[in-house]
Amino acid sequence: MLRNALIAAGVTASLLAAGTASAAEKKIIAVSIPAADHGWTAGVVYHANAAAKEIAKAFPGLEVIVKTSPSASAQVSAIEDLSATRKMDALVILPHSSEELTTPVKTIKEKGAFITVVDRGLNDPTIQDLYVAGDNIAVGFNTAKFLVEQLGGKGNLVVLRGIPTVIDDERIKGFQDGIKGSDLKVLDIQYANWNSDEAFKLMQDYLAKYPQIDAVWANDDDMLLGVLEAIKQSGRKEIKFALGGNGMKEIIEKVKAGDAMTPVETPYPPSMIKTAIYLTAAHFAGHAPVRGSLKLDAPLITKENAEEYYFPDSPF
């Protein structure tokens, strides 16, 4: 529904704009992102569409086309189709996988398009004009530092991992670096595939296995929801913190409300796609130099700055 409305709004906006500026002058920014198949990608789609709408309104000379693809091969086809049928001045891409997308994006670059890569890098970094990403290592590291500080450098932890990928590995590595040198002990670490149900089961099992747990880290908020439910059911009182990561709105709401068990959050915000689209637009509309890389920090979100990361209308 929302999506249709946005497309309609986009079409109307571009029709109106076409009246003033001739179609030939219009710069086209194509945005290629994964389809919304879980919370985080749903957030990416939401923010990309929001950016497309806002930019079309603010800069009549620019048109933003958003295409979502359910798989890497579908994404390759999508950008090939786009470049075959339209003149593309820029491509903002959040690649499904680095390997498969590198060559197709390179082909588009050779046709003269400005390339913005988001989140996952391509295998050949010389292709990109602009790179925007979050900091997965910091997601783990900052969470770990918070726990070390709050638990007085001592305690038992259990950790839930996502799906075996670079993203997951980096978060875990950051976390392990963060607790190094303290007496925090990771009792157990298992995969729960970034899935609430699997996290619920895994947390029940952790609770059955370990009589004394001081804190839980689920490296993603979907998993944290399952963890919280399992803790609630068990009635166990010794668990002081249960933390997640990514910045899901339900968890940000907890942080805003000053929840005792989840007082902080670390962002790996899907809204980074918006940052990338705006910067790309600045290249055309503002004549502002934007070539380079931008790494978004993952500062702790606390009660004080939670508003900055809170998007009540986003599905994530």
């Binding site: 929302l2 389809a35 879980h38 749903a42 789609v45 298992q190 029940q204 099992d205 929801l225 599905p315």
Partner: protein, 330 residues
């Protein structure tokens, strides 16, 4: 081979069938014993209650699958269907809650049941009237249901209204005389299913159709009607599972019920139902679902399996469980 099951069962209803049925239970007992040796906490009342409770969804869906599979069909859409029904139910309850309050919960359950039956009927008619292989037909509806839940949630989460959350919670977390409600529900479903499959004309026809379609047709059974009915039962079972599932996390997402179909089929087969049809075992299916959940639980409670190898060890245990089951039949 196939006509053995369709032939009058009375002659062989003594020892041999009794032992064949015991297979999955022997495997379950072996698993519990091993679990206790690995970690005595395994047998704590809390752990057993947790594990059996969460096996309830797969068990309830797998009981429905026992009908579909024993009648010679297959349903790959159950996981997506569960997610779809969950989504429909939550959206409906949230929609009526401002007007009817907590009465939204029973209404939501009714809507879930109707949706499940409609989904099952859809699968059934595509397979029977459309004459499409069950594998392909339900692979198609699996994609459809998954896409619909993704669309309904905008790819994110639809959560149940806060005003209903606490009232509905006991359906998963509550208990009657110490037995968690989902366990009671799956026992009730299993009792009804066992009665239908073993004691009614429909149940016998179901197995006969699965054993040999042509023979069944010549003996005057409407194969179309029996098969379609099996899918409808499957749909109703998925709806019952969804009703128990919603209060657990109170939300539906595009990843709800992901890959449940594989767990369901595994549970059915471990339980002694023949994958090519003609033989159905309701209680075996329930044991199969519990076995699967125990295996996953054991992986976490034991310390000697690397987190990277969990899936491999689970695969090996499932194969061993099947072998125990097979050998107990000889």
């Amino acid at each position: 081979m196939a006509d053995v099951a369709a032939a009058p069962p009375r002659a062989s209803q003594g020892w041999s069938i009794g032992w064949g049925d015991a297979g999955p239970f022997l495997a379950l007992i072996a698993l519990v014993a091993i679990g206790f040796l690995i970690n005595p906490d395994f047998l704590s009342a809390n752990n057993i209650a947790n594990v059996v409770t969460r096996s309830a969804f797969i068990a309830i869906i797998a009981i429905g699958a026992t009908f579909v599979i024993s009648s010679g069909g297959l349903d790959l859409s159950v996981g997506s269907m569960a997610a779809f029904i969950t989504g429909v139910m939550i959206l409906f309850m949230n929609w009526v809650a401002p007007n009817v309050g907590t009465a939204a919960i029973p209404l939501g359950m009714a809507v879930a049941l109707v949706t499940g039956i409609a989904c099952g009927l859809l699968n059934g008619t595509i397979v029977t009237l459309g004459r499409i292989e069950p594998f392909i037909a339900t692979l198609g509806t699996m994609g459809i249901f998954r896409a619909l839940i993704t669309y309904m949630t905008d790819g994110g989460t639809v959560a149940i209204d806060r005003s209903l959350r606490d009232a509905y919670r006991p359906v998963y977390f509550g208990d009657v005389l110490g037995v968690p409600i989902p366990i009671l529900v799956s026992l009730a479903v299993a009792l009804v299913a066992a009665y239908v499959l073993y004691r009614t004309r429909f149940g016998r026809r179901c197995v006969a159709v699965g054993a040999n379609e042509d023979v069944a047709r010549y003996s005057g059974i409407s194969v179309t009607r029996v098969r379609t009915m099996a899918y409808v039962i499957q749909g109703a079972c998925v709806a019952i599972a969804a009703i128990c599932y919603v209060p657990r996390l109170g939300a539906a997402t595009p990843t709800t019920g992901l890959l449940w179909e594989l767990q369901v089929i595994t549970a059915v087969v471990i339980g002694g139902t023949a994958l090519r049809g003609g033989r159905g075992r309701v209680w075996g299916t329930v044991a199969g679902a519990v076995i699967l959940e125990f295996i996953a639980n054991l992986m976490v409670l034991s310390d000697f399996v690397s987190e990277y190898l969990v899936a491999a060890v689970q695969g090996v245990i499932i194969i061993i469980a099947m072998l125990i089951q097979r050998m107990s039949k000889r």
